[in-house]
C-alpha cells in the first residue's frame, strides 16, 4: 500500500529543506571542516549547565504553568526592557516556548486565517515559509540584496506588498546573510507596517550578536508595541541550542491566543531548560559578551579572507554568518558547494537553501576556531584558484 497518499496535501507539497540534502552528503564524509553549522561552537557556559543540574537535584521535574515559570518571565521582562527598550508585563505579555521556532509557529497558527498573506524577507531562515504554509497562510517573499548589505528596504516591501497581507516577519540580524537594519530603516519599516496595518513577528535571536551600531527592536518604535510580537531565545547568545528554549512577548490578547495553541500542543517548555535560562539571564551577560567579542574578530578575519580570495563578501553586521558571493567562479552555489566539499572537504551551505534569491551565494558560519577558519579559508582559496585555472 502506498502510505504516502494519506499525507495531508499541504504537508506533502512542502519542499524538502535544501539543507537536508546537503547534510546527507556531508554526513557521509570524514574530516570535513564544516562552516555549515548554525550554532555556536562554544558549549553552554558551565554555570548555566550547573543550574540545570541543580534544578534536577532540587526535584524540578514537573510541569510548569503554560506560560512558563513566572521567575523566568520576570527575568525576561527585565532583560528585554534593559536591552530592547520595551517593557512587557511578565504576568500576561510573555510566554516561554520550545525555542524561537515554536514561538514562530505559535504566532503563525494563532494569527493566520487560511489564505492570509504573510510577508518575510529572503534569503531567510529555512522555517519561515513552511511555518506560514503549515498555518494555511500564503508566503509572500520580499527580496533583500547584497548591494544593501542585505538590509530590508521599504522599497522592496512596497514592491512585494499585495492586498491581503496581514503579517510581516522580520529576522534582523538575519540568518543566513548577517544583514540587519539601522534605526532609520527600522522606523521606515514600522511606518510601512502601520500604513498597511500589518502585525510584525520580529525574530531577534541574533540581536546580541550585533557588531556594528546598536540593535534596534521594531517593538520599541512608538506605536509598534501593540502590533509586534517580539520573539527571542537563548540558543545563539547563550550557546543553548540543544536546550530548546525561547520566548515571545507581545500584546496580552495575542500572547493569550498563542498560549492556547501552546497549551494543547506543547503544554509547557522543559522546566530544566527554564531554570537554566533564568541563570543565563541573571548571570550570563559577561560570558555572552566574551563570546560575542570572539565572533566579532573571527568575522573580521573570514570576511577579509573571502574578499582576498575574490569571493565578494559584504560585512555582516550581526549573526555569525558570512554570505559570500560565489558567482564569480562561474558555478552555481550548489555545484560550488559540492565541489568544494569533494575536493577540499570544506562545507558551506548553498544560498538557495534559504530561498531562491540566495542563488550565487553560500553561507559560511564563522562560529568555529581560528585554526579551522584559517585552514578552511586556505582550502577555499586553493579551490577557487583551481576553478579559475580550468576556465
Amino acid at each position: 500500500m502506498d502510505s504516502s497518499r494519506h499525507i495531508a496535501k499541504h504537508v506533502a507539497n512542502l519542499p524538502k529543506s535544501g539543507i537536508r540534502d546537503f547534510f546527507e552528503i556531508v554526513s557521509k564524509m570524514k574530516d570535513v571542516i564544516s562552516l555549515g553549522i548554525g550554532e555556536p561552537d562554544f558549549d553552554t557556559p558551565w554555570h548555566i549547565r550547573e543550574a540545570g543540574i541543580y534544578a534536577l537535584e532540587k526535584g524540578k521535574t514537573h510541569y510548569t504553568s503554560n506560560l512558563g515559570l513566572i521567575e523566568l518571565r520576570r527575568a525576561i521582562g527585565k532583560y528585554v526592557e534593559k536591552n530592547y527598550s520595551v517593557s512587557y508585563a511578565p504576568e500576561n505579555e510573555v510566554i516561554i516556548t520550545v525555542g524561537v521556532s515554536e514561538a514562530l509557529d505559535l504566532a503563525c497558527r494563532a494569527l493566520i486565517n487560511p489564505g492570509d498573506k504573510v510577508m518575510f524577507h529572503q534569503p531567510c531562515y529555512v522555517s519561515y515559509s513552511p511555518s506560514i504554509t503549515l498555518a494555511h497562510g500564503i508566503a509572500v517573499p520580499v527580496p533583500t540584496f547584497a548591494k544593501d548589505n542585505f538590509a530590508l528596504t521599504v522599497e522592496a516591501l512596497r514592491a512585494a506588498w499585495q492586498p491581503g497581507c496581514k503579517l510581516l516577519m522580520l529576522n534582523l540580524p538575519c540568518n543566513p546573510t548577517g544583514g540587519t537594519c539601522d534605526r532609520a530603516q527600522i522606523e521606515a519599516i514600522a511606518k510601512f507596517a502601520v500604513e498597511k496595518d500589518l502585525i510584525v513577528l520580529s525574530d531577534e535571536i541574533y540581536s546580541e550578536l550585533t557588531f556594528e551600531g546598536v540593535h534596534t527592536s521594531i517593538a520599541s518604535i512608538l506605536g509598534m508595541k501593540e502590533r509586534t510580537i517580539f520573539l527571542h531565545g537563548f540558543s545563539k547568545a547563550f550557546a543553548m541550542t540543544g536546550w530548546r528554549i525561547g520566548y515571545a512577548c507581545g500584546p496580552a490578547a495575542l500572547i493569550e491566543a498563542m498560549m492556547k495553541v501552546h497549551q494543547y500542543s506543547m503544554l509547557c517548555a522543559s522546566i530544566i531548560s527554564q531554570e537554566a535560562a533564568i541563570e543565563a539571564l541573571v548571570r550570563g551577560e559577561d560570558g555572552m559578551k566574551k563570546m560575542r567579542d570572539q565572533y566579532h574578530r573571527r568575522r573580521d578575519f573570514i570576511v577579509r579572507r573571502f574578499n582576498e580570495i575574490g569571493l565578494k563578501c559584504h560585512l555582516p553586521r550581526g549573526s555569525f554568518y558570512a554570505f559570500p558571493d560565489i558567482s564569480k567562479t562561474g558555478l552555481n552555489e550548489k555545484d560550488f558547494a559540492v565541489g568544494l566539499l569533494q575536493t577540499e572537504k570544506v562545507a558551506m551551505v548553498p544560498g538557495t537553501a534559504f530561498g531562491e534569491n540566495g542563488n550565487g551565494f553560500c553561507r559560511a558560519c564563522f562560529a568555529t576556531s581560528y585554526e579551522q577558519l584559517i585552514e578552511a579559508s586556505n582550502r577555499i582559496e586553493r579551490h577557487v584558484q583551481s576553478l579559475a585555472a580550468k576556465k
Binding site: F23, V32, G36, E39, D41, S127, R304, Y370, I374
Partner: protein, 160 residues
C-alpha cells in the same frame, strides 16, 4: 588593548604565522609586537600547561602560608621579593587574612620541599611562621581540566 595580546588572552594556541593571518599583519609585525610586550614586561614568558603522570612529573608541589614582619617604608615587598627569588618558588602572592604570603613551591621530593622550608624559607629573617600544605592531586590547571576524559561534543556538520 594590543590586538596580539587580545588574541593570546583568548587562549588559543596559534603560531605567529596564524596570528598574522587572523590579525591581517605581517608575521614580522606580530613578532615585533610580541617583543614589545616582552620589553614592557607585560608578556613575561611562555609556560606549557601539562598533565603529566606522577612518575613523569617527578616533582612534589606544596602551598605554604607564610607570616612575615612588615618593614617600615617597604611593607611586605622586600621580604616577598627575596622569597620569590628562590628557584623552588613557582609563585608568590601577598594575601589578606590570617597569613601574609602564599607561596607555591615545587621540589623533586617531599624531603627536598621540607628541607627548603626548614632550611631556607623559615630561616629568612622576618619570617615568623610557615604552614606547608602538600598538593595531592590536580583537577584543573590554568583553565584546563585534568581529570576525566574530555568529551568531544558532537555538533551536526550542517544545521539550519
Amino acid at each position: 588593548m594590543n590586538p596580539v595580546l587580545k588574541l593570546l588572552l583568548e587562549g588559543g594556541s596559534l603560531n605567529t604565522a596564524q596570528m598574522a593571518q587572523v590579525l591581517n599583519l605581517s608575521e614580522a609585525e606580530v613578532n615585533r609586537q610580541l617583543d614589545d610586550l616582552k620589553k614592557q614586561r607585560v608578556l613575561l614568558g611562555w609556560s606549557p600547561v601539562l598533565n603529566l603522570s606522577d612518575e613523569e612529573a617527578g616533582t612534589v608541589r606544596a602551598v605554604i602560608e607564610v607570616r612575615i614582619t612588615p618593614e617600615r617604608g617597604g611593607g611586605f615587598n622586600r621580604l616577598a621579593e627575596r622569597i620569590s627569588r628562590f628557584d623552588e618558588v613557582e609563585s608568590c602572592y601577598l594575601m589578606s587574612g590570617g597569613y601574609d604570603l602564599l607561596v607555591f613551591v615545587n621540589g623533586a621530593s617531599l624531603q627536598r620541599v621540607a628541607a627548603f622550608v626548614s632550611e631556607k624559607l623559615s630561616t629568612v629573617e622576618g619570617v615568623l611562621s610557615t604552614a606547608t600544605h602538600f598538593m595531592l592531586r590536580s583537577y584543573k590547571e590554568h583553565g584546563f581540566l585534568l581529570e576525566g576524559k574530555v568529551e568531544e561534543t558532537e555538533r551536526l556538520k550542517v544545521a539550519p
